[in-house]
Subunit: 419 residues, 2 copies
Amino acid sequence: MTDLAVETMNTLGKQAKAAAASLRMADTNKKNQALMLAAKRFRDDMEDILAANAQDMENADKNNLEPALKDRLALNEERVEAMAQGLEEIAALPDPVGAISDLVYRPSGIQVGHMRVPLGVIGMIYESRPNVTADAAALCLKSGNACILRGGSEAIYSNRAIAKRLRSAIVDAGLDEHAVQLIDSTDRAMVGALITAKDDVDVIIPRGGAGLIQRISAEAKVPVIKHLDGICHVYIDKAADRDMAVSIALNAKTHRYGVCNAMETLLVHQDAVDCLPEIIKQLLDKGVEVRGCAKTQAVNDEVIAASDEDWATEYLAPILSIRVVNDVQQAIAHIEKYSSAHTESIVTEDYSTGQMFLRCVDSSSVMWNASTRFADGFEYGLGAEIGISTDRLHVRGPVGLEGLTTQKWIVLGQGQIRQ
Amino acid sequence: MTDLAVETMNTLGKQAKAAAASLRMADTNKKNQALMLAAKRFRDDMEDILAANAQDMENADKNNLEPALKDRLALNEERVEAMAQGLEEIAALPDPVGAISDLVYRPSGIQVGHMRVPLGVIGMIYESRPNVTADAAALCLKSGNACILRGGSEAIYSNRAIAKRLRSAIVDAGLDEHAVQLIDSTDRAMVGALITAKDDVDVIIPRGGAGLIQRISAEAKVPVIKHLDGICHVYIDKAADRDMAVSIALNAKTHRYGVCNAMETLLVHQDAVDCLPEIIKQLLDKGVEVRGCAKTQAVNDEVIAASDEDWATEYLAPILSIRVVNDVQQAIAHIEKYSSAHTESIVTEDYSTGQMFLRCVDSSSVMWNASTRFADGFEYGLGAEIGISTDRLHVRGPVGLEGLTTQKWIVLGQGQIRQ
């Protein structure tokens, strides 16, 4: 960490803190107006935004960025329009700030309840996709938080172009322009300065590969909301509806491969192996490599032997490991040992077994007769998500507007004193 | 940190983790039974517990422990009985674990909601008062958490005697005895090992002086729930009911001096200085030293000039600083600058001013026409509290059973897959 990085971050941090103090009190109307204005500007300035993105794409070519990353980096009219619509959707969500709940009279005569308030200053660290700049800024703004954004250096021109529109919209809505600040430097020391700025930054939300997130978690002095891996399991119980089991297993694995809520290991009760031939056949037809325990290999010649490492791997690819277990207890024990506590699902028609799984499995999402692919802010009704948390404190699972707030106690009296 | 400390903590941590896994599923009945049995044992073994405490008191004499600490350390029949009743009260509280809330149908047909679950393993670090051993263990057990307790070395005999009864009651109720573990060593390196055991410990809750808590916050690798200071303010607005203002100001300062929710600074609107003569007279009569700004000094000769340091000091003593402010905005700005974000109260009959104060002041408790002394788990209806948090994440203000839990998402389907 260089002195310059610390100094720059100090300036950004102080500006963010001042903006957060004014945002805490901002009208819902003004926040929504800023989001609607920014959406309009994305559309009006479409050409400029695409030109900035073209510069990033040119550099990506020069630097031989891998195709998957280039795909995430690329903007076109459709993607910019989607970004604009994203802002409008967030504007349409209810404002969580200031909501008062659980206000009750206590025996002393005072009324006690909670008021929802913003967290303060949020540091976002992310890679490649420029739309995160718009999404994260919008979620932070709506929830009354100031944000400091640090996107990937490969997207710097796109991020600048997007942040510029956001900031001018914020100013035109009468809010503090420092509500959204982009770290306009590709210096890596700025990340170090951001995650240790504990006097000014209330929480860090990193989004990216496991390597990035591990480094941030290890070095941060500011609390971090994050998830590392998604090693998600589906368990097919002996009492599973077989058609449902096949359908959920295939959807959880093959709907999308590179996402954190995709299934990576399928657990099957020994009395439910009858559904395995169909599942494995369909997986192989779709080009999925199947690895398995000895009992799974006995079902189909093309199943490769799974090693212990397989159970602990997030493939994010068309690969699945399958294990046959003796009973639900063994399935739960396997999950306890290998799961990353992201999302697990049981398929069963048996009430007691389902209830036991729901209660015993300690992951951020636990499902019964549904595909793990539903673990998502939109599907859960949050409207939008800034990320997913597999931490235990503050917020777990998909993080939406409410996860970006905290509560304070309020007490209303008529002059009560302690006796 | 010594190797021995790390090794010992590793054993305690693994045992706690295993106990936490079984406690997660424990019947409410069994947990309550353990608490009731422990209460009975405290009463049955009164003599042994008092004898153990006598050993601590003897050492305290030898080591010339200061009288205030000796008072906190001392047990008698009344205090042990109060400990037993505390356990019975916690047994009588509703069990938060497993409660399902907000279960709604989503357009996809899945039901999505929250289930409340324990945090896991809680490390408690505290000083002197042996009753914390019973209170903390009981709150952790009821909320389904395993705990590792590290009391002050001056209370080691008392803590051992108390922990022994708790553990035997836990075993007799059919639960894992490692649900409650006392660090049976006065080696300071054990604290370092506990606060860095991030694979086994989910959260640290320290209770003690600001020095202890600062050290723990700086060195911990495990998340910490804490409060450092309680620099609490009362603001008397120009529209305050004068009798109420006098009553609340006196109660907030003089009800008890050494507590974190006592008022340390009184702010008075320039048009409400008419209530200051009475307040200052009564404070002086009670032996409170009054320090103040020039306008406060003009009210009474005995007021000492307050320095800038006074505004930033938690006296925990019969001393009060008073400042006359121009308006509510200046009061809020003063609080923003000097408050420790614990508890602030406004006295006013003016609706708009009260609402502004409630919304603008960003402390863990914000009050309107009530004494700051109400900031307390019992007064808020939590039944009991394990501490108070001035952190922003996870839990803010008094922390009871719910603050010792987190949530997981549950999804109930009938075979839904992502389209």
